[in-house]
């Protein structure tokens, strides 16, 4: 079914183009219909493609579709080619299906926005480029998708253009990720000149024979690109601000898909990364630090979306730690489950925000349990999965998978992971308790429409049962997911001490939840966001924002202002005025007095005589 592969990308693209050409004249209802149909087809094709591929002749191999040659100069040759193997299949399913759900949800979320057409143009463009990113077999095409999702995220963060903060957040997001993109680009140059092609297989085959330094540099640069895209330390500052965009955007881009692109890229090139253990260690460390960093910051946020943003950061930290430990399956598995429950959480939060007059401060909410039971249960499901409550949630299994392999690499990583899990359960349930328990501090109006409820329900279910496709040996081993990916990512390594770790990993979240209950259980008075300096620093991204602002942004802009009209120009002006000066000085010879003139003639002659003799 090679023919379907391009169609999967073309569907959202076509929708985007149609909406673009309609120039916003299309009524909202028609727009939603079009989007629904387009993304529905996209998801449908995705599923069909997946089924046919897995039942196909070489379901362990890859399906190649070469579209056209991009550049063919001298020895360098790149082409637009799509490839479908089990890895990209997983990603493709996540993007298309969850994308479908989120866009359906968005139809009702953005119902009243006059610019809904523009919104869906961006969204569909995003889905298209994300699909290009995950499906293409050539790194240059990946880069196309990579930058495409970046610019779409910029456009969507700044979607409500009339508020300057949004514009700033959007610019920040793009510029910070652009740093990573530049690193990625340099990596591409390195590989292109070294290998002569940017095809994944070619690169992977050429890597072992290449000089080790070059490979290290390449992986380092790729890691940098991935880190920026996934908002890991030290390039994490953009993600919390990115919450300025509409909530579906946060759900789709900044939770489910775009931020995980880096994980996908590294997993895709794991063979190359295996050659450079140093870089992998660095990757693990980055993940390790980010887990704790983001969890700590999430602990004190007051804005519900920022809580989720930081939790996304720390969950991605888990994935990077897994990648660093070589647990490719674990990373991918967590990616999938995280896509389920984080999208769920965001959409639930979106429904809340929608119904409380775009209020996002959890301390201004409360007692929403009765007001919106459906949303409440959805949020509970998501939180449980995020906190990784044992056995009944998807998050539990994926996290355990990572922790086990982390333990096998270095117990320290495992410890960090456990600590992170502890914090996670605390902050997310802090959010739950404050938001849904206690007396109502705000009035929710309207009711969550069916169009929002259905995606919530589906994702809620997935968030609960989604984990059972990969159950560790200790409790009746199911290995559907890892078996699915093993042709691409290699066999699962043998694990030790599984049971004990599982036990600890199951208890810790429960402790966390109960602790959260003790701290924020509904009392007579409204809970207050505590406001100590330390807390304020934590809340403000551990002061990273301020640091970067002082160290990079301000000096750059200030010096630019200082030199705004270009000192080089001044130099030329100086030259001009000097010439003018000489002209005047020379004009002074013209005193108008004959005697002086005669004197000059005499001087000239005498000088000439001296010159001659």
């Amino acid at each position: 079914m090679a023919a379907l592969l391009p169609l999967i990308i073309l569907c959202p693209l076509a929708v985007a183009v149609i909406l673009l050409l309609s120039r916003g004249t299309m009524p909202a209802r028609a727009t939603c219909g079009l989007v629904g149909v387009g993304m529905g087809l996209c998801a449908l094709f995705g599923v069909i493609e997946a089924v046919t591929f897995l039942n196909g002749p070489d379901s362990t191999g890859a399906l190649h579709v070469v579209l056209w040659h991009w550049i063919h100069v001298g020895g360098f040759d790149t082409s637009f080619a799509l490839t479908l193997d089990r890895l990209s299949l997983v990603m493709m399913l996540v993007v298309s299906c969850i994308g479908f759900l989120i866009l359906v949800y968005a139809c009702s979320y953005m119902r009243d926005d006059p610019d809904i057409a523009r919104f869906f143009v961006y969204m569909n463009l995003f889905v298209a480029s994300m699909l290009l990113l995950v499906l293409s077999s050539d790194m240059i095409a990946v880069y196309f998708g990579w930058e495409g999702v970046g610019v779409c995220s910029y456009l969507l963060i700044g979607f409500w253009y009339h508020e300057t903060p949004n514009a700033n957040a959007a610019r920040k997001a793009f510029v910070v990720t652009r740093i990573g993109d530049a690193l990625f680009l340099v990596a591409l140059l390195l590989l292109a000149t070294g290998v002569g092609s940017l095809d994944f297989n070619a690169v992977i085959q050429a890597a072992p024979h290449a000089p080790h330094a070059a490979i290290t540099l390449a992986t380092l640069l790729l890691l940098g690109g991935a880190v920026a895209k996934s908002a890991q330390l030290p390039l994490q500052t953009w993600l919390p601000d990115a919450m300025a965009g509409p909530t579906p955007v946060s759900a789709l881009i900044h939770a489910a898909t775009m931020v995980t692109a880096g994980v996908y890229l590294i997993a895709r090139l794991h063979a190359v990364f295996l050659l450079t253990p140093g870089v992998m260690l660095l990757c693990a460390v980055i993940g390790f630090v980010t887990i704790l960093f983001a969890a700590g910051s999430a602990l004190v946020q007051t804005d519900i979306k920022r809580v989720l943003a930081y939790s996304t950061m720390s969950q991605l930290g888990y994935m990077y730690m897994a990648l660093g430990c070589g647990a490719w399956q674990g990373a991918m598995f967590h990616l999938v489950t995280h896509a389920f429950f984080k999208a769920l959480l965001f959409m639930a939060a979106g429904s809340i925000i929608l119904r409380v007059h775009h209020e996002q401060d959890i301390f201004k909410m409360g007692g929403l349990r009765q007001e919106m039971p459906g949303v409440f249960w959805a949020f509970i499901a998501g939180s449980a999965a995020l906190a990784g409550l044992p056995l009944i949630t998807a998050g539990y299994f994926s996290k355990e998978m990572i922790l086990t392999s982390a333990y096998n690499v270095a117990p320290l990583f495992w410890l960090g992971g456990i600590l992170g899990a502890f914090l996670t359960s605390i902050y997310i349930f802090r959010c739950v308790f404050i938001t849904f328990w206690g007396e109502a501090r705000t009035h929710a109006h309207g009711r969550t429409g069916i169009v929002q409820a259905v995606p919530l329900a589906i994702l809620g279910v997935l968030a609960i049962i989604g984990g059972w496709m990969e159950v560790p040996d200790s409790l009746g081993s199911v290995h559907i997911f890892s078996n699915l990916l093993s042709p691409v990512l290699g066999e699962l390594p043998e694990e030790h001490g599984g049971a004990v770790l599982l036990l600890i990993g199951s208890i810790v979240p429960l402790i966390g939840v109960s602790l959260a209950w003790m701290l924020w259980k509904p009392t007579g008075r409204a809970p207050e966001a505590l406001d100590q300096p330390l807390v304020r620093v934590l809340r403000a991204d551990w002061g990273f924002d301020a640091l970067y602002d002082v160290v990079f942004v301000r000096p750059y802009l200030a010096l630019g202002r200082l030199n705004r009209n270009d000192f080089i120009d001044r130099l030329y002006d100086l030259l001009a005025s000097v010439t003018q000066f000489f002209g005047r000085a020379f004009g002074l010879m013209q005193t108008g007095q004959v005697r002086r003139y005669a004197a000059w003639i005499a001087v000239g002659t005498v000088l000439a005589l001296c010159l001659a003799v």
């Binding site: 004009g587 005193t591 108008g592 007095q593 005697r595 005499a602």
Partner: protein
Amino acid sequence: MNPGDPIAAIAIASILFVIGLLGVMVRRNLLFMLISVEIMLNAAALAFIAAGARWHAADGQVMFLMIIAYAAAEAAVGLAIVLRMHAAGRGTLDADTGNRLKG
């Protein structure tokens, strides 16, 4: 001074020439300037005579006559111009004052 050796005469001529040049440079009175120019011309004429004497040729004398003629003509025109300026309203013969043309 033997006629074969013109150097002495050339020396005198040069001295005259320099005197004339200095005269032009130091005197402020127009008439004196013109006179100094005449001195320079005559210095040149003298040099021609000396040179002619050296080569026993008449060319020197020819040039001498021409220079005299030219000097006369120039003096005439110069005086005419001075008078004209006077008529045009320039009261003084001082060449330094009242210059209207300058850079």
